[in-house]
């Protein structure tokens, strides 16, 4: 870089710092905005919600026709031949999902011994209760939308009734969109091409297809089950855990993306030549990615995932706090750190030696969601404005990149205090002071929304190669500078670091990974499964041992070993 262009950037940064005070930063970022504040949309206005039973596609053989090919057979597809569809999608999606994706088993597990025992203890039929089916078998009652907003079970039952055969669980449509409206349109050829591919995401959404290429949309969908969403009736309660529900692994988007047998490919994947041909100016607008040399695809997803997961956790707390204010039971035990209570008591006691956050004897919130969101925030606060402008070409783009960098820094600040306030509100009384929790949760949600407004909408490369490196360094620092007492937090650090390091091509020696894997599992699912091997049923004992057998010091030492 020449000294002249450095000066230009510096000057631009100065001008920008002044202008941002006056101009709303988020005002004109992108035409294609996703504003998390607006979720959930009212059902009658949300184009993703079927208008009625007739407007719904269930698990459909129609998907399999095109998307269920063997890898060898892809080239024989009519769409490969005529429209080079293999350069846009894999065409093996349904097969991968059916053979090796645990989502395909999500209803079947409700009939296994663990679930049967749960049903016995909970005294309700887990294959029929909405409490279970909202996540486990959304297709059991076809005719029903993936519940969003006001979830009305009675209506679901009434409209359609049951299907005798086992539903296949979390199917294509559960994630991609339940409405019929986009089904034929998405492969309709017009004059030798398929216009759907380059249709603006807003238009696709209007037709009923969920824009899963968008990191915020994707993460929000995942966390609705994998963290929980009270408005959609998807909450794993302490009652369910006590009856035997396996613990939900902590949520980290990129580890989940990497851990699931991929029926998709990232737009940066060289196999999908189509994306390389998308003009640079349209890459973010249409498919929400930047060139791999400019931006780390997974780092951006990591940051979004961390903030969306925290937001979901705060929403659950908010929902519980509101019920408490209205005389309900309030904060569920499941919102708290399991091991704050679930430990044997002994003298001398490590906890008494270590001291307590607030008054002794109050359960604390789960630490993990705040930890990685905190790292993302710390990273955002320290983003080098000039670094972000390096990848942009032309004065206009550079100016935008600088503006985004300043906005990112601004939005990232204040996280620590807000998270601390929420933790304090949760210990003001043994299970949280409803009003204080509500206010503190709203402040955290606001912070998340402001931060996501930039992460989700900025077309600039925010996680440049250098910034991605810094993010990994911050993760490594968190894992090694102090003992991580919480097993879930340790897992997130290990998962996040190794996933991002692999994307960056950092060498992770196998023996050192093995040492780390002895302290925390390095994959989301402890139960082995591969593309060739169908997913094994969850082994409850194994999963619990991951948590109860965790020790802080060996983890830190193993992580240090990995960095050497």
């Amino acid at each position: 870089m020449t000294r002249f262009s450095q000066r230009v950037q510096l000057l631009a940064a100065l001008i920008l710092l002044t202008t941002t005070v006056i101009v709303s930063v988020r005002g004109g970022t992108s035409a294609n905005q996703t504003n998390p504040k607006s979720q959930p949309e009212p059902n009658n206005k949300n184009p993703l919600i079927p208008k009625g039973p007739d407007d719904l596609i269930s698990y459909s053989p129609a998907c399999v026709d095109c998307h269920g090919r063997t890898p060898d057979d892809v080239k024989n597809s009519r769409f490969t031949k005529d429209y080079r569809s293999d350069e846009f999608v894999l065409l093996t999606e349904s097969r991968t999902w059916e053979e090796s994706d645990p989502h395909s088993r999500s209803f079947k597990v409700l009939k296994e011994p663990l679930a049967r025992r749960m049903a016995e203890i909970l005294k309700y039929d887990v294959t029929k209760s909405a409490k279970c089916l909202t996540c486990h078998g959304i297709d059991k009652y076809a005719g029903l939308p993936l519940p969003e907003g006001d979830f009305d079970l009675a209506k679901r039952f009434e409209t359609v009734g049951t299907i005798d055969v086992d539903p296949p669980g979390v199917t294509c449509n559960v994630c991609h969109g339940l409405r019929k409206s986009w089904q034929s349109e998405h492969y309709n050829p017009v004059k030798g091409t398929i216009p759907w591919r380059t249709l603006a995401p807003d238009k696709k959404k209007e037709a009923g297809m969920r824009n899963l290429r968008h990191p915020v949309v994707k993460a929000q969908l995942c966390v609705s089950c994998h963290v929980g969403n009270a408005a959609e009736g998807k909450v794993v309660t302490h009652e369910m855990y006590a009856a035997g529900h396996p613990p939900l692994p902590p949520f980290e988007l990129t580890s989940y993306m990497e851990g699931e047998p991929k029926h998709w490919a990232y737009p940066t994947d060289p196999r999908l030549k189509f994306f390389a041909s998308v003009p640079a100016a349209d890459r973010w607008k249409l498919f929400h990615f930047n060139d791999a040399k400019d931006e780390s695809y997974l780092s951006r997803n990591f940051a979004v995932g961390a903030v969306v997961a925290l937001r979901a956790e705060a929403e659950l707390l908010l929902a519980d706090a509101k019920t408490a204010e209205n005389g309900g039971e309030g904060l569920d035990f499941a919102r708290f750190d399991c091991y704050a209570c679930h430990h044997d008591l002994k003298y001398p006691s490590d906890r008494q030696k270590r001291g307590y956050d607030g008054p002794p004897g109050r359960p604390t919130l789960r630490a993990a969601p705040g930890l990685i969101a905190g790292i993302v925030a710390k990273h955002g606060e320290g983003v080098e404005t000039t670094d972000l402008a390096k990848t942009a070409t032309g004065f206009h783009d550079k100016w935008i990149a600088l503006r985004e960098a300043v906005a990112l820094r601004k939005a990232a600040t204040g996280f620590h205090d807000k998270w601390l306030a929420l933790r304090k509100a949760a210990t003001a009384r043994p299970f949280g002071h409803p009003t204080k929790v509500k206010e503190a949760a709203m402040a955290v949600i606001d912070w998340c929304d402001n931060f996501l407004a930039i992460l989700g909408n900025s077309p600039s490369s925010l996680y440049t190669i250098e910034q991605a490196k810094r993010l990994r360094e911050l993760l490594a620092e968190a894992a090694t500078s102090a003992s991580i007492a919480d097993p879930e937090a340790a897992m997130l650090l290990a998962w996040g670091y190794t996933t991002l390091a692999r994307e960056a091509g950092v060498q992770l020696p196998a023996d050192r990974l093995k040492t780390l894997a002895d302290t925390v599992p390095l994959s989301v699912r402890a139960e082995p499964y591969t593309v060739e091997q169908k997913p094994a049923p969850i082994q409850f004992g194994t999963r619990m041992k991951m948590l109860s057998g965790y020790q802080a010091d060996p983890f830190r030492q193993a992580f240090e070993g990995l960095l050497k």
């Binding site: 006590a242 009856a243 430990h343 044997d344 109050r362 009003t435 109860s548």
Partner: protein, 495 residues
């Protein structure tokens, strides 16, 4: 030097200023005329001034210097006179506030000096004793026998013995501890707690041992040095003491729940609610997931994921209630319907404090009626011996109480429930005369004791919870209760 004097003057003024307030906050004796339900005497703390135990310790009064002899009550109680052998830990209650664990507790709770803190001194000394230096004697005479302002002079006057127990309490503030009901209610003031004397979960988390009171276990503890001789012979004494203990402990726990619920009613209240110290400790404090199926052959009367309210003092109270008419002639089986409703209401993770306070108040009234009956029966003189067979009957009922009707599973697998049933069985075994009288009970009782004992860690840590107590251990406990069930049928094979 002058500086020190000024400081002590300030402290004394402050203490003097604080004193009246303290005595006002004490619970009044409650001969409540408006209330239809009778109340036992000896509830709470009498509103009179405490005096130092030193005034009891004169050689001609209770300081005779003969270990265990009549007239040597204070000498026997005080650890300093006979330092060898078992002692009365009440005499050490103050000194313990200086040990490392107490100091660390203080630090965690933001208490600079536990030995100056009312929260601690209300039980670890005689609350409000004059002069304040007397607090250093620990839980002295007045703590259990009542503040002696009025009765100190009166109790050596000729007319004293002619007074009724109720008079001694209501007029003089004397706790007639010969009456078991008055005695155990007095113990429960600290050992369970009340509005001004409370070990909550914050304290326990900071290091205070949990409270788990069972009167006969404390009474017959080999580490406890009695400064009196019990007049009632065995097994009558222990059977009655166990039954009264069940009623009095639950009464204190229920009243404490009411107090805590009242405090939590205002929506902006910062008071802990639910108060974990009133819930079953090891429902939560256990390592989870050690067993694929942790429940084993056991059930719980509560919904999944709910820690039971006062399982410790509820688990065996039904047995005491059903059979108390045999131990106390003229006492009929008490009505404990509101107590049962309260247990049900508390089967929520965050029950409405207002509803709890109301129901707990009614439950306390039920328990008071029962306790007043027991108390009157005792005061009438229990010349009638208990039926020969009653220890066996009670033991059988306790064994049955710990199992489901089909005896295939434990009725409640919570450790507190198991321990409470075991302690009741232990009391009956001891009262009946032990292994010489009932040899068939010995093995299962000893096995139960081993199974329920808290283990010692590999590095010598003292566990304060049943670490590693899982499915296999629960099944063994169930088998021991079954053995006791079979061993306690009568010669015709009947309960």
């Amino acid at each position: 030097m002058r500086f020190v004097l000024v400081i002590s003057a300030v402290v004394m003024i402050a203490v003097a200023w604080a004193m009246p307030g303290q005595s006002e906050s004490r619970t009044q004796p409650q001969p409540d005329a408006a209330s239809p339900s009778p109340k036992p005497y000896g509830l709470g703390q009498a509103p009179f001034a405490q005096i130092s135990s030193a005034s009891c310790a004169a050689a001609a009064c209770h300081g005779g210097g003969q270990l265990g002899a009549k007239g040597s009550e204070h000498s026997t109680w005080a650890a300093t006179v006979f330092p060898e052998g078992p002692a009365d830990s009440h005499a050490r209650a103050y000194r313990i506030l200086f040990n490392a664990e107490s100091v660390r507790m203080g630090k965690l709770l933001g208490i600079a000096a536990p030995h100056k803190e009312a929260l601690c001194l209300n039980c670890h000394s005689v609350a409000g004793v004059e002069p304040t230096a007397a607090a250093t004697e620990g839980t002295g005479c007045g703590a259990c026998h009542g503040p002696a302002e009025k009765w100190n002079a009166a109790h050596v006057q000729p007319g004293w013995h002619a007074l009724t127990n109720r008079d001694k309490w209501e007029r003089y503030g004397f706790v007639p501890t010969k009456n078991l009901t008055a005695r155990v209610l007095s113990c429960a003031g600290c050992h369970v707690g009340d509005a001004s004397r409370e070990v909550n979960h914050d304290l326990i988390a900071a290091g205070h041992p949990r409270l788990a009171f069972e009167y006969t276990r404390s009474h017959f503890s080999p580490e406890y040095r009695h400064h009196w001789k019990e007049q009632t012979p065995q097994p009558d004494f222990e059977v009655r003491a166990w039954a009264v203990g069940q009623a009095a402990t639950l009464r204190a726990a229920t009243e404490l729940l009411r107090v805590r619920a009242e405090r939590a009613i205002p929506t902006q209240s910062d008071q802990p609610w639910p108060e974990f110290a009133g819930l079953s400790c090891f429902a939560c404090h256990q390592r989870i997931g050690n067993d694929e199926l942790n429940r084993g052959n056991a059930t719980t009367p509560r919904p999944p994921g709910i820690a039971g309210w006062e399982v410790w003092s509820n688990a065996a109270v039904g047995v005491a209630a059903n059979l108390c008419s045999e131990a106390f002639p003229s006492v009929s089986t008490p009505n404990l319907a509101d107590v049962a409703r309260l247990r049900e209401l508390m089967n929520k993770r965050n029950p409405d404090p207002k509803a709890v306070a109301e129901l707990a108040s009614r439950a306390v009234a039920e328990l008071d009626t029962w306790l007043a009956d027991l108390q009157v029966a005792e005061d009438r003189g229990l010349n009638t011996r208990i039926p020969n067979d009653l220890t066996r009957k009670l033991a059988h009922a306790l064994a049955a109480n710990s199992l489901n009707p089909d005896r295939a599973k434990l009725a409640d697998h919570d450790w507190d429930a198991l321990a409470t049933n075991y302690l009741g069985l232990g009391a009956m075994y001891h009262a009946a005369g032990g292994t010489r009288a009932v040899p068939g009970w010995t093995e299962p009782i000893r096995e139960l004791s081993r199974e329920l004992k808290f283990p010692t860690g590999q590095k010598g840590e003292r566990f304060h919870s049943p670490a590693g107590f899982g499915k296999i251990e629960r099944d063994r406990v169930r088998d021991r209760f079954r053995e006791l069930f079979d061993a306690t049928v009568d010669h015709r094979g009947k309960p």
